[in-house]
């Protein structure tokens, strides 16, 4: 029984080049976890959305990526953390199409649909932490 990686890979997100770096790191982990091509794409796309959120709305932050294992299958966990303004109205933020940043507003709700697990913690004025997990077959 493999345990999850003891130390996650931490990538800082301060520029759009970093967003690309996050995508590449997530792709590597997805391959290691044996995700199907479709699931890889869903995961990397969700990670891209969340990384961009961290950059644009969180004013920069970091991504913590790790391989995880629930005993029967491997998966990838991505956590996005920032110390930005935080989300004031979480239910609203998770609605389709809601946006404060001039984007399409599908980042959060879309990422939730693409991932198997989605966790969002945010306090106004203190920052945001979004965690997603995608499992292999």
């Amino acid at each position: 029984m493999r345990a999850s990686d003891p130390s996650p890979e931490v990538l800082s997100i301060e520029s759009d080049t970093d967003v690309v770096r996050v995508r590449q790191a997530v792709r590597t982990l997805a391959l290691r976890a044996g995700l199907s091509v479709v699931d890889q794409t869903k995961l990397i796309t969700a990670a891209s959305e969340l990384a961009r959120n961290t950059l644009v709305h969180g004013h920069g932050g970091r991504a913590e990526l790790a391989l995880v294992n629930d005993g029967t299958r491997a998966g990838v966990q991505c956590r996005f953390v920032d110390d930005g303004p935080g989300i004031v109205d979480i239910p609203r933020a998770l609605e389709e199409g809601y946006t404060t940043g001039g984007g399409l507003g599908l980042g959060l709700s879309g990422s939730r649909r693409l991932a198997d697990r989605f966790d969002l913690r945010s306090t106004a004025g203190e920052g945001t932490c979004v965690t997603i997990v995608k499992w292999g077959r």
Binding site: D16, T17, V19, V20, R23, Q24, R27, V37, V38, Q40, T41, K42, I44, T45, S48, E49, R52, E96, G103, L104, L106, G107, S109, G110, R113, L114
Partner: protein, 124 residues
């Protein structure tokens, strides 16, 4: 930073995206295409995304905007080569790429533009 090259074939512009797109690259491409369409009077643009393994909301918006801008400049934009996994993810993401015409590959994209067929949107 190198810009993504835009090729001209007759009066059609062809772009093949081969790199991991940073947001800035997408913005630059949108600007460059608008400029090239205007300066060359091209009446068609084919954007080949067969090498893209993801289209997220930002890139999706770039494609939609490019299509809209080109329409205003009297050109037709066709996005070709979308990978199945990307299409499935876009549907799940709820992105419909409004106003963007699509075709399976460059050859069919060029054929679509030269045929004066009715527009074939990827509508929802």
């Amino acid at each position: 930073m190198d810009r993504i090259p835009i090729y001209k074939i007759g009066d059609i512009l062809l772009v093949s995206i081969q790199i991991d797109l940073r947001d800035q690259d997408a913005v630059d491409l949108q600007d460059d295409l608008a400029t090239r369409i205007a300066t060359t009077g091209a009446h068609g643009v084919v954007i080949d995304i067969s090498a893209l393994e993801l289209v997220d909301s930002f890139i999706g918006r770039m494609l939609s905007t490019t299509a809209a801008v080109s329409r205003v400049l009297d050109a037709r934009t066709v996005v070709v080569g979308m990978r199945p996994a990307v299409a499935i993810t876009l549907v799940e993401l709820g992105l419909s790429l409004p106003g963007v015409e699509t075709a399976l590959d460059v050859e069919r994209g060029l054929a679509l533009i030269s045929s004066h067929a009715d527009r074939h949107d990827a509508r929802q």
